[in-house]
Amino acid sequence: MIALDPAANRPQFINVRVKRQDGPGQEPYWQLFKIDYEPELNVISILQRIAALGQTSDGKKVPPVVWDCGCLEEVCGSCTMQINGRVRQSCSALVDQLLKDNADEIVLEPMSKFPVLRDLLVDRRRLFKALEKVKAWVPVDSYYNMGPGERQLRAAQEQNYPLSQCMSCGCCVDACPQYNKIELERKKDETDEEFRKREEKAWDTAFVGPHAISQAMLFNNHPTGKSIAGERLDALIAPGGIQACGNAQNCVAVCPKEIPLTTSIARAGRATTIHTIKKWFEK
């Protein structure tokens, strides 16, 4: 670890270049900030210091950088952004490590596949909508006390648990070459409701993304979740379904939780193949 290196090796300042944007549809611009070096910083603490500092490297007073964060321990999925060109969680992006790769500066950009709301804050509603599309839930009858669920073998739990750790951070889709940004502009005469409907329609026919495919496989492997397995597979062969996957396998490479997304995708590939053939013969 750099933190253990002799003090002489430590830089005095950290240069942080941030891609900012004042609102949707506006032109992005860059600002440079200079932060005093401290050991064991992460990108979150850098952004906190920028907020407290309130000025750029040349002393210009600027509003704090807007970004999203939550737990700061990589389980909530809030703080995704592009750091030095790679999408990841900013809480687990340790400055000492980043400086090892590039001592000159740290570059922060918003995620590339979602509309920017402001600075590093993006609109990720589409991610969650995809979970609705694949019906990522167990269709229980009620929330009354009906006794325990079915017994499950440890092997099944061990297969499901990693998939269930998906925190909808969006890294997989941001790195996916088949997942494209959808940014609609609101029309003048459009109501909130109409605009939302139009957005959801556009999302619905575009690629659902690896995270949603993986969630579909998670619930298809649950004793009760299985009961609507066919509906989930139908969603996966609908427009924007699994066929849009291009097997670049970036999803699994950038997933901060190391979820076996490509295994889920291949499993979904097999399931949809069999499902389609069966459906065709049973028609």
């Binding site: 670890m1 933190a3 004042d22 609102g23 401290e38 064991e40 910083l41 992460n42 979150i44 603490s45 906190q48 907020a51 309130g54 600027v62 509003p63 704090p64 807007v66 999203d68 939550g70 737990c71 700061l72 321990e73 990589e74 389980v75 909530c76 999925g77 809030s78 809480c91 687990s92 340790l94 490590q97 402001r118 804050l121 609109d123 990720r124 969650f128 979970l131 609705e132 019906k135 990522a136 839930w137 167990v138 229980v140 009620s142 929330y143 006390n145 009906m146 325990p148 669920g149 017994r151 073998l153 440890r154 099944a156 739990q157 648990y161 269930s164 750790q165 925190m167 909808s168 619930f219």
Partner: protein
């Protein structure tokens, strides 16, 4: 029936459980959350969720013992009827979560696996790896998404709750909230509102809590007239990883799975931990608490770790205080299976593999036992009256408080793996109560006086606008004020509390509050302005901070997480049995006397004019299990226990004799 509308504020376990249950009962729900609900702070809970179960039952456990452990661990400041109800619901709650698809760890035969947690001798805790909170939250999030797709729930994510809407009778008729993206402020009219907004760790600057756990939502209710109870009871988790942005939790499950806490006997021993032989290691928890060992309740573990570093000077590191939490004696495969998630966190944030090298940990602010005061109706069997409208209603009619931001369940100290339970339980249990409350109301959400709604909105709009434009000459920076507040609170009101420090802190916090009201914002824009959102929540931290400090100052005793060394009850010193017996009698006398005075909930009412909380005290319902001394590790515990038992017996006999 179908025309009922409830607004739920907060999308953590409690809020989601509430929304899901209300939707099932046919109520239309508006769910308001600062963050997409799937990112709520509940995801951070690692260890598990408690209930007695088939296995522990056969070892003598039952719901009553779970109840008893909870109130004993909470030093009897818990309200017993709700705790009892919760303990009896616990097995059912876990069964429901199992049905909802939570991937709980399994035994070889396919049953739910259980681990032991602090403050109990039974393996009650069901867990899903080391991310149980995340898994439970996701199961509820999925159900809420399902109900949302059916049109029963509307979610408003990235909306900041600004306050309840009250009509002229004081009844809550909805809430005002602000879109944190567009900055639009609007009213959400409803028949009832549920506040499930969690804890207030950010009052301490850095804690184990998520960045949105500012306590501001509870504070806004507090400032609107709701009572705030037991504020001074803040749990400091014994094991956290110190960091510059946050103190990351290292779950109690690390100790539950066999983790051992130690320091080198020689101060700042420079040898690598694995080179220090067993004889030079001080396993201080195991030595001081032979029965519970590393699994003593949290307040005790915290104090011991604090003590060993501060008073004994045995910190592992000379620069910053920490002790070893050692898992290296456990096989790697087992660690990965049971604790994979939390070990990864340590490795990721510290760059050291805890499977090879012991972790360095130190206590951190973790949970607020106190919260909004709320009512309940006791049933004939000592639990809660199911469906009673008053259950969990605050003193503002129609405003409910559940989850971490209520105050009933954890007394002076929360047992590990009980918080997830209390959140889900309160969310589910209050559903019928809220429906019954609404059924009894004459006016619904559709016929609220428009002036009431617009008045509430314009009040918030004024506050917002004046923050943006006001204080042009001031150079008060909200972020720096927050740091100062955190430092003051951490010094004065965490593990060890002294009256002189508290008095000093109160003064400083008062001053800081005045400064916070004059902050100058570096962002005066009207789009996604996080600066103004933060400034508001900062201002709203102060009423809570003042309640914590004021409550702590007034409580001259040691109870659970509230520890004042000046008022610590002494161990027995005499060797002579008769003398020792006498000391024990005196000890018990003092204990009873202290309980008469302090076994009460601290209740704060906020006075907006003076910007100060006013304190009063409320009796605690201890009707089910009479308080007894909490004697973990005290010298002479056996004899005190004996004396106490005799007294308890005598008390039981007395009424019988009188009646005969």
């Amino acid at each position: 029936m179908s025309n009922q509308r409830v607004v739920v504020v907060g999308g953590g376990l409690a809020g989601l459980a509430s929304a899901m249950k209300l939707a099932e009962l046919g109520v239309a729900v508006d769910l308001i959350s600062l963050t997409p609900v799937k990112r709520s702070h509940s995801v951070c809970a690692q260890g598990g969720i408690n209930s007695c179960n088939d296995q522990t039952r056969q070892l003598g456990d039952n719901e009553w013992k779970h109840f008893d452990d909870t109130v004993y661990g909470g030093d009897f400041l818990n309200h017993q009827p709700p705790v009892k109800e919760m303990a009896y619901w616990a097995p059912k709650v876990i069964e429901l979560m199992d049905r909802l698809g939570v991937p709980f760890n399994r035994t070889g035969e396919g049953f739910l696996d259980r681990r032991r947690f602090g403050g109990t001798l039974y393996k009650r805790t069901a867990f899903a790896g080391a991310t149980t909170g995340q898994q439970l939250l996701y199961a509820l999030d999925e159900q809420v998404r399902r109900r949302e797709s059916e049109g029963l729930i509307r979610k408003f994510e990235f909306w900041d709750f600004l306050g309840p809407i009250q009509d002229e009778t004081g009844r809550c008729r909805g809430v005002v909230a602000q879109d944190m993206v567009s900055m639009e402020i609007r009213a959400f009219p409803a028949d009832a509102a549920v506040v499930a907004t969690g804890g207030c760790g950010l009052v301490y600057g850095r804690s184990t809590m998520s960045v949105f756990c500012t306590g501001s939502a509870a504070s806004r209710c507090f400032q609107a007239g709701a009572k705030y109870a037991n504020g001074e009871f803040i749990q400091v988790h014994p094991t956290a990883i110190p960091g510059s942005d946050k103190l990351r939790l290292m779950s109690e499950s690390a100790r539950g799975e066999g983790g051992r806490v130690w320091v080198p006997r020689k101060p700042h021993d420079s040898r690598a931990p694995r080179d220090i032989p067993a004889s030079d290691r001080y396993y201080f928890l195991e030595e001081r608490y032979p029965e519970y060992g590393n699994l003593v309740p949290r307040d005790i573990a915290t104090r011991e770790i604090f003590d060993i570093c501060v008073n004994d000077g045995l910190s592992v590191d000379s620069e910053r205080m920490c002790v070893y939490l050692d898992l290296t004696h456990i096989p790697k495969a087992e660690l990965d299976r049971k604790l994979g998630g939390i070990l990864e966190i340590y490795e990721k944030f510290q760059g050291v593999d805890p499977r090879i090298e012991p972790m360095r940990i130190f206590p951190a602010v973790h949970y607020s036992m106190g919260g909004l005061w709320a009512d309940y109706v006791k049933s004939a069997d000592g639990g809660l009256e199911a469906g009673a409208p008053a259950n969990h209603m605050t003193n503002i009619e129609g405003l409910y408080a559940i989850g971490e931001c209520d105050y009933h369940y954890h007394g002076a100290n929360r047992l590990g793996a009980n918080s997830l339970l209390s959140c889900i339980f309160t969310g589910l249990f209050t559903g019928p109560s809220i429906v019954n409350y609404i059924d009894n109301q004459s006016g619904g959400h559709a016929d609220i006086d428009p002036a009431t709604l617009s008045g509430a909105v314009s009040k918030q709009q004024e506050r917002h606008d004046s923050l943006l434009t006001g204080n042009p000459g001031s150079d008060e920076n909200p972020y720096l004020i927050h740091q100062e507040l955190g430092d003051i609170m951490t010094r004065a009101a965490t593990v060890v509390r002294r009256n002189d420090q508290l008095t000093d802190a109160i003064e400083k916090v008062n001053e800081l509050h005045d400064r916070a009201m004059k902050v100058n914002l570096s962002d005066t824009g009207s789009w996604s302005n996080q600066n103004v959102i933060f400034a508001k929540s900062l201002q709203d931290m102060f009423p809570i901070a003042k309640s914590i400090l004021g409550g702590a100052l007034r409580r001259d005793e040691c109870r659970g997480a509230h520890f004042k060394p000046d008022f610590e009850k002494p161990s027995l010193t005499a060797e002579d049995p008769a003398e020792r017996r006498k000391q024990a009698e005196e000890w018990c006398d003092a204990f009873e006397k202290n309980n008469d005075k302090y076994l009460k909930s601290t209740i704060a009412d906020y006075d907006n004019a003076s910007m100060q909380p006013q304190f009063s005290y409320e009796d605690v319902d201890t009707s089910l299990q009479p308080p007894r001394p909490r004697l973990y590790g005290l010298v002479g515990a056996d004899i005190i226990e004996e004396v106490w038992k005799e007294r308890a017996e005598a008390k039981k006999q007395q009424p019988q004799m009188a009646s005969s």
